[in-house]
């Protein structure tokens, strides 16, 4: 999978498996959804967490350029003549996500907050394991907690505990992907329509 899709899936995997306890269920699973679920699903599945991609921007502060040539598996074996893995240095991106938690029960709310702060964003930092398509290698991305906001509200005359976590995931796209997504310009059309509003004595460009 390409980047963004990989991070989406990795975030969902990271957040899946959280459980909360109450008087009726000692191990109630916390659902994870991309964006807000339909009302039918929602009513049956409190508590839950939603994942939303807010923004993505090139991380120019992390950008390097050039060709990476590896003939010794990054220094782990003796260089082998005629064997080299060559690729253009990837383009770094920052992906900004909003993770929103929803629960009806105050204990669920606190449990989810505690879990996220103690297990996912320890000291506001964490990491995101992103496996490759073949599941043979895993890249670890930085996962930084940028902001936490409490957004409790009332829904259907009942309390709804809501928390918004804004997080940044450091990512990268291959240079090949980048060049494909930005096709080369083959022609530029300038002033294809001449305006009629040209002062006397002047010529259109």
């Amino acid at each position: 999978m390409s980047f963004i899709l990989s991070e989406d899936l990795a975030l969902k995997t990271l957040l899946t498996g959280i459980t909360v306890a109450d008087e009726k269920n000692s191990s109630r699973p916390v659902g994870v959804w991309f964006a807000y679920p339909d009302v039918e699903s929602r009513n049956q599945s409190y508590p839950f967490i939603t994942i939303e991609l807010l923004d993505f921007a090139p991380a120019t502060d992390r950008q390097t350029s050039g060709l990476f040539v590896d003939n010794d598996l990054q220094g782990t074996i003796a260089p082998t003549s005629g064997t080299a893995y060559t690729y253009e240095i990837p383009v770094p991106w920052n992906l900004v996500y909003q993770l929103t938690t929803y629960s009806r029960h105050p204990r669920h709310d606190r449990t989810i907050i505690a879990y996220l702060l103690n297990n996912i964003f320890v000291a506001k930092r964490g990491y995101l394991a992103v496996p490759n398509d073949l599941n043979t290698e895993t890249a670890y991305r930085h996962l930084t907690l940028d902001e936490f906001v409490k957004r409790d509200t009332i829904e259907d005359n009942r309390r709804l505990y809501r928390n918004v976590f804004t997080v940044t995931v450091t990512s990268e796209g291959t240079a090949a992907t980048y060049s494909v997504t930005n096709p080369a310009i083959t022609s530029v059309k300038i002033n294809t329509k001449t305006t009629a509003d040209i002062p006397s004595g002047q010529q259109p460009v």
Binding site: A35, Y36, E52, L54, D55, A57, N94, V96, Q98, T100, D146, E147, V149, R151, T153, E155, L160, V164, T166
Partner: protein, 108 residues
């Protein structure tokens, strides 16, 4: 010779307060915020701190736009503003810092 760049940088930032406020309002409108709330946004610069202010009476609606509400997805403006406008901010700090160095005759 010891010089402090911070006051000059702060002064440079203050000089683009109105520009940043206009950019913030434009970004909110482009993102789909109702004009009523977008035009109430204001950039506030104190020293080297840049914050976004809005009237208390609109806080519920504005925060619902920013963070989303029950059935409405978030339309982030505050959280993406600095990233989108960092070139304007960097240029301001850079210009005021260079002016200081020239005025101080550190750079001839």
């Amino acid at each position: 010779m010891n010089i402090s760049i911070e006051p000059y940088a702060s002064s440079g930032l203050n000089s683009i307060n109105n520009t940043l406020t206009s950019l913030l309002k434009a970004q909110a409108i482009d993102a789909g915020w109702p004009r009523k709330y977008a035009s109430a946004l204001q950039v506030s610069i104190q020293g080297s701190e840049i914050t976004i202010a809005y009237p208390e009476e609109f806080s519920e609606q504005i925060e619902n736009l920013e963070y989303g509400s029950m059935d409405v997805t978030p339309i982030p403006v505050f959280r993406t503003f600095l990233e989108k406008q960092k070139a304007v901010i960097y240029n301001s700090v850079e210009n005021s810092s260079i002016n200081l160095l020239v005025d101080s005759e550190i750079i001839p």
